[in-house]
């Protein structure tokens, strides 16, 4: 009696877990959301830094943090289960974002307001949905 109850509880938990396992589309969306979050955080940091609203120490530390998080996400991307095409596109996007954040970090570190202003203004508005739509259309 007890073992049967235990077995059915285990079965229930396992099925819930199986359903909760993310689909490939969700995993792709998740990676993209992380990328966008940090790309836009970096832009935000740049914009506030120019306005003098945040101290240098905080700006540089947060940009370093953005860099770390993007790197960690790239590593996670390599291990995730998804179509190779999606992995390649996401990987590229992540690398591009990381490069931009790096440039921004160097500019802030050098107190180069002009460059920071340019980067904040000119880097593409990250849009989480577009990448997902592109992959889904294939």
């Amino acid at each position: 009696m007890r073992t049967r109850w235990r077995a059915s509880t285990a079965g229930l938990i396992l099925s819930v877990v199986a359903c909760a396992g993310k689909s490939a589309a969700e995993r792709i969306a998740e990676h993209d959301r992380v990328r966008v979050a940090w790309e836009e955080t970096a832009r935000f940091v740049g914009a506030e830094w120019i306005g003098g609203a945040i101290p240098d120490a905080y700006a540089t530390r947060t940009l370093d943090r953005a860099n770390e998080e993007l790197r960690a996400d790239s590593e996670k991307l390599q291990k995730d289960d998804m179509p190779d095409e999606a992995r390649a596109r996401l990987g590229e996007a992540l690398e591009a974002t990381r490069a931009r954040v790096d440039t921004l970090r160097l500019a802030v570190g050098a107190s180069d307001r002009a460059s920071v202003a340019r980067l904040v203004r000119d880097s593409p508005r990250a849009n989480a949905d577009s990448l997902l739509r592109q992959v889904a259309l294939r």
């Binding site: 819930v16 909760a20 966008v36 979050a37 955080t41 935000f44 506030e48 945040i54 998080e69």
Partner: protein
Amino acid sequence: MKKLLEITLGIVTSIGGFLEVGSLATSAQAGAAFGFQLIWAIVLGTVCLIFLVEMSGRLAAVSKQTLAGAMRDRFGYPFFLVPLVAMSLLALLVMASELGGVCLSLQLVTGISFPWWAPVGAFAAWLLLWKGTFSVVEKGASLFGLVTIVFVIAAFRLHPDWTRAAHAALPSMPRHEAMRYWFFAVSILGASIAPYLLYFYSAGAVEDKWNETDVPVNRITATLGMSFGGVLAVAVLIVAALVFVPRGIRIERFDQIALMLTPIMGRWGFYLFAAALGIACFGAMLEIALSVAYLVAQGFGWKWSEDARPRDAARFSLVYTATLVGGALIVMMGVDPLAITLMSMALTGAFLPIAIVPFLILMNDSRFVGQHTNGWISNTVVCAIVGLAFVLAVVSIPLEVMGS
């Protein structure tokens, strides 16, 4: 006139326990991820807390016993160990989160990332408890805690769509990332309904020698005080929604939350955020350390009194000291503060029944509260909300843990 003063002081006191790292982090993350949608979770949590705090004061006023003491009295010894151990361990985790908040605040202000901020913060809290009295702790933390009003000011300055916010006070289903939504919902409930606040409040009421005539005032104090806390949390959510959502920023790490007030108030916003975070968390640290000490000392019948000198309440003082040390050790292990915060809030939600069910039984037992037993509304509301928190926690925590 005296009653008016009591009410005002009571409200100011209640502030100290409400907005702390848990409410701040959960509200900010929820606002950034889901806009106004999760306002209902804050509303539900606040309503439940109002009922619970009022009950805690009523119990102390009528039975002249604290919640912990009454629990041992009514349920006896082996049973009492269950809430004692569960709540103490949970409090330790929450303490670590609060200390993390204080450390972040110091880091923001000084620009120095100092691993030793943790023992510094813990030591400062300990010193205040060691040398201070209950009133000093209570009133000091609350008065300084008023700096958190900055979030309400910021919310107004952003001109939110108040109608939309009001609609969000009613529960709604998530349109995306359902598991995350429910995990945030339970974290918000756990952040609002903090059991440690109940042990703290009833101990304060007994130490202030409340009696039956204080029951009506207590009702007002609990309602106004906790509502104020709820308003603060909603303000944080609104500000986060209006600042982060248009920029497409999802909060992943604590560092990002510090940007919340800068678009609205510039450099002042940055430092005000740091101050609000630091002060609120510091106040919470004091309350949590005392709550654990109250729980243990009252449960075992030791002398407990924040007003007494440490040597006159030796084991009590030892317990709050150990709690602070434990919290510092956890922080120094280097676990991500935002992760500890979210998890401890969600676990609080999961463990609420352990703390609340015995409490409800006490509040319906005339041997303790005489004629002032709970009405059906109190019982129903609390049961429903705690039940909800528990179900959400059991479902969403394992999934969130596996998903990340």
